[in-house]
Amino acid sequence: MLSFMLKRIAQLIPVFIGATLLVYFLVFATPGNPIEALSGGKPMSDATRAALEAQYNLDKPFWVQYGLYLKNLLTFDLGTSFSGQEVSAMLGRAFPVTARLAILALLIEGIFGIIFGVIAGMRKGKWFDSTILIASLIVIAVPTFVLGFVLQFVVGVKLDLVKPTVSGSATWGELFLPALVLGLVSLAYVVRLTRTSVIENKSADFVRTATAKGLSRRRVITVHILRNSLIPVVTFLGADLGGLMGGAIVTEGIFNVPGVGHLLYQAIQKGETPTVVAVVGVLVIVFVVANLVVDMLYALLDPRIRYA
């Protein structure tokens, strides 16, 4: 188990370097001299420009810039944005908000997705199953930002049930609606995956045995069918965490959530290499760690899977 974990963590390093290098290169090639953006387009003396370029290492070639960035990263120095803020401080403010948002979304899609999926799977072909199948298709087909606007408009403005936008403190309650929007598409996938998996397992021999030895239907479903059906679902949820962090760009824009997606979108438009690369780096780490956790969960769900 330990050697397996170490191996996976070692695999993380090339992925992290590759992804940050890719993003660093792309943002490096992006137009708009950041120094000009900094001065607001006003004329600037050559000496000031040179000093600023030296401060942000913009006068050095690409590889040197990236190398310096990596070196600073090892000392947990994420650099400063062009407006002079520490990137780590900006990330420190934004990350907990997006983490709350993503965790809420993951909980919503996990809990409702599995419950609906099990009920639909156990009643294959009945009205509940058909409703769930059609509803999930519709949810997958409608773009997230349309769902976001419609829910914001109907629930937030027309019915006035929740505040349509999120305040600076971004409490759990305020984040519920954005999290629902963020997680809805994945919820549809979780329902369909769980349903298929339950249908496959419910006629398995071990389920027949469990029923035959007189276990209650409840116990057969929760312990025998569900546990054996969860592997594809857990795989999906783990891979989805990274997608949720990316999808947050859209959701956070609609609901005005002061999170990572918001920060990232603004930084990309301003061409702020350190901020973009730092945020993407964090997203990559979250994604890889989530996948590592999923691999650990496999062994928990199915004792036949061992990590030698």
């Binding site: 773009p143 606007f149 998996s197 592997i231």
Partner: protein
């Protein structure tokens, strides 16, 4: 060790099937019922006349009977016709001189203009009809590039293994760690893309981040097919390695590729709309569902229907492609056809 760097619902399902010992390594073409369960007459009366149908012919036969397939195929055909000949469906040319009249700004629908007018007083129905082409172009061409590029690389990696496979796996890991929309936003900011924003730059951008998924799926399918007896036989008969890949392995690996490509076509259409909504997709003057939704969003509180119409067209189109993918999957997977 389970490998789950990427997400693909089939992987998980496949895995659980393997665990239950249901999936054989080789494709079973003829089902032979076990003797002890079947009366002998039944075994003897098996019809031997006629050539057995190929996988594709059999899939087509079962597809034709599926209502899901018929509905989605008709809807997709309709969308293609609208995209190709928008002038057949509306007499108003939204690019014309008098297409938009400010006096009609935000007015609701009336005869001749069933969907009403947008902020600039343009007919919403005509815009939605003319916007079909951009969305469909993005979906179709992104899918084509992704299938050709991802399919070729995935097939080479799966068939030859070795260093090609290793490089591709690591490259795939890197791309997977970057969500599609995020990567696409960054690429669309590049000078070459930002200054030439068009349908084609959006297609290239989406393809850059779309191919690794298809490469993985192709790789998996090719690995499953490459050790089959018919491939070994073709090699024994003197076919070169590359030719056996093209003639035998690839045709037998196509099923999962087609399914994923069909579903992804819808995903790319949504991605284009999302990019346009974020202001980094198609340029504002190109008529597309994404741009129209983005414009309508600013008037959502005063004129919500303006957002609903392009969103409805977009969703129905995407839904058709997802349903088609579902139907094709059912048809190509004989186990699913018999009903789980």
């Amino acid at each position: 060790m389970p490998e789950n760097q990427n997400f693909n619902p089939e992987d998980g399902l496949q895995m659980s099937k393997v665990r239950a010992g249901k999936v054989s390594k080789y494709k079973i073409d003829h089902y032979v019922a076990p003797l002890e369960e079947t009366p002998l007459q039944a075994v003897d009366s098996v019809k031997e006349t006629g050539k057995p149908l190929s996988m594709w012919a059999e899939a087509w036969r079962s597809l034709r009977k599926q209502p899901l397939f018929i509905i989605s195929a008709i809807m997709i055909l309709a969308v293609i016709v609208v995209a190709a000949f928008p002038q057949l469906f509306t007499s108003i040319d939204p690019n014309g001189q008098n297409a938009c009249q400010l006096e009609y700004s935000n007015e609701p629908g009336r005869p001749g203009h069933i969907m009403g007018f947008n902020l600039q007083g343009c007919d919403v129905y005509a815009r939605v009809i003319y916007g079909t082409r951009a969305s469909l172009l993005v979906g179709v061409f992104t899918t084509l590039i992704v299938v050709i590029l991802g399919g070729a690389l995935g097939a080479l990696a799966g068939f030859y293994g070795g260093w090609i496979d290793a490089i591709l796996a690591r490259l795939g890991d890197i791309f997977f760690a970057l969500p599609l929309i995020l990567g696409a936003i960054i690429v669309m900011q590049l000078p070459a893309f930002r200054e030439n924003r068009s349908v084609w730059t959006v297609i290239v951008t989406l393809a850059i981040f779309g191919w690794p998924q298809l490469a993985r799926i192709t790789r998996g399918a090719v690995i499953e097919a490459r050790d089959a007896d018919y491939v070994k036989a073709s090699r024994a008969l003197g076919l070169s390695k590359f030719k056996s890949l093209v003639k035998h392995v690839l045709p037998n690996s196509l099923a999962p590729i087609i399914v994923v490509a069909t579903v992804n076509l819808g995903v790319y259409i949504v991605a284009e709309a999302t990019l346009s909504f974020l202001g980094v997709g198609l340029p504002g003057e190109v008529m597309s569902w994404g741009n129209d939704i983005s414009l309508a969003q600013q008037q959502l509180r005063s004129n919500p229907m303006m957002l609903m119409w392009p969103a409805l067209f977009l969703s129905v189109t995407v839904l058709s492609f997802i349903m088609l993918g579902d139907a094709v999957r059912d048809a190509l997977d004989p186990k699913a056809r018999k009903g789980a």
